[in-house]
Subunit: 189 residues, 2 copies
DNA sequence: ACCATATTAGTCAGTTCTGACTATTCTAGA
DNA sequence: TCTAGAATAGTCAGAACTGACTAATATGGT
């Protein structure tokens, strides 16, 4: 079906995600990708093409199975369902992943690191722009978090993103404030 | 020299990093990789093999140039130096990257999202383990941040990681506390 | 005297990811 | 009645990344 390169299954969050989504109900490809795009955009990065390749591999390994579901005129859906083996593997993966502390390495550090090579006024403008973006993300995270209660697991994960987004914004605010002060005192002299 | 696949240069933080490191001084391959491994581990993920491939491409594009430097018995070093074009491109990249607000998508969300599928006691134990890891990372970030003053650009970037690490730890603490309470009240009945 | 680790410099096969692309049908609006 | 866009389902070539590997010397500790 799709090009399948290796014989091992990747032991990463993406695999866990697909299995997890199928734990709750059977879904067809479009549904899965649409769900991820709509609701999980902030939670994980998983592109359509990658998802299809992963699904093919999961099926190859007998963790999921698919049946065709005719749709009248529309292209036939492939509906995926978790097998028993898949359900077991999901539990196994979950147990392995949950306690793992992943290093928190956000993007966007490198340009900051070299910002001394730019005039302070330019840096200030750039950081302000970033701050605006960060405020937006925070608002989005807030909205998402409010939609599902933090007592549920999903809410818990969303809350994590909320906290991290807030920290990022606060850091940016502090940085902007510091730069403003520096520029001010420099201007006064 | 190395397999070079595309003719375009990637416009990402890795490229910016390599150019940036060479802005400050000429360096040879081992030095670059060693520096990244030692000091920038928390800032960005860039593997040795990738770095060499990138360096080859940068040279191909005339942004850097290399000279061989004999070392007596030891294998000859290749020392890289930024060209004028490279310096210009660095400034250009920096200007493009600095204002960019990258989506903050940390790893480790997915397992949390599905933690309802595990018994609460197991989840609690797992989160405690994660908390221990997070404390360690926070301590490391703290130490790194204290070593360079936050008035410098590098210090600024390190401070960001510090804030984010703290937020992550705090979130974990809150989550653990909540779970403990829940388990307690469940036990009382 | 010997072993483990650091210094130094890469290479490569195999794996994974992504952007761009192809089709068809349905639906709401102009 | 057209038409633009969403729904639907993927595929594929090419780009990128990584783990594992090779080599030779130096050096510090036991």
């Amino acid at each position: 079906m799709t090009k399948l390169s290796s014989d091992r299954l990747p032991d990463d969050e993406r695999t866990l995600l697909l299995l997890g989504l199928l734990t709750e109900q059977d879904r067809h490809g479009y549904e899965i990708n649409d769900f991820i795009e709509r609701n999980l955009e902030a939670v994980i990065r998983l592109k359509k093409a990658t998802a299809y390749q992963l699904l093919a591999r999961l099926e190859e390994h007998g963790l999921i199975e698919s049946r065709a579901e005719a749709q009248g005129q529309r292209p036939t859906r492939r509906v995926f369902r978790l097998t028993e083996a898949g359900r077991a593997h999901f539990q196994h993966l979950l147990l392995g992943h949950l306690p793992r502390t992943e290093a928190l390495i956000p993007e966007g550090n490198v340009p900051v690191m070299f910002s001394e090579h730019l005039p302070p006024a330019v840096v200030l403008a750039a950081l302000r722009e970033r701050l605006a973006g960060a405020e937006e993300q925070l608002a989005a995270a807030q909205a998402a978090s409010e939609r599902s209660p933090c007592t549920s697991s999903v809410g818990l994960a969303l809350e994590r993103i909320l906290w991290l987004s807030r920290a990022d914004r606060d850091w940016l605010r502090a940085a902007v404030a510091r730069l403003e002060r520096e520029l001010d005192t420099a201007a006064v002299r």
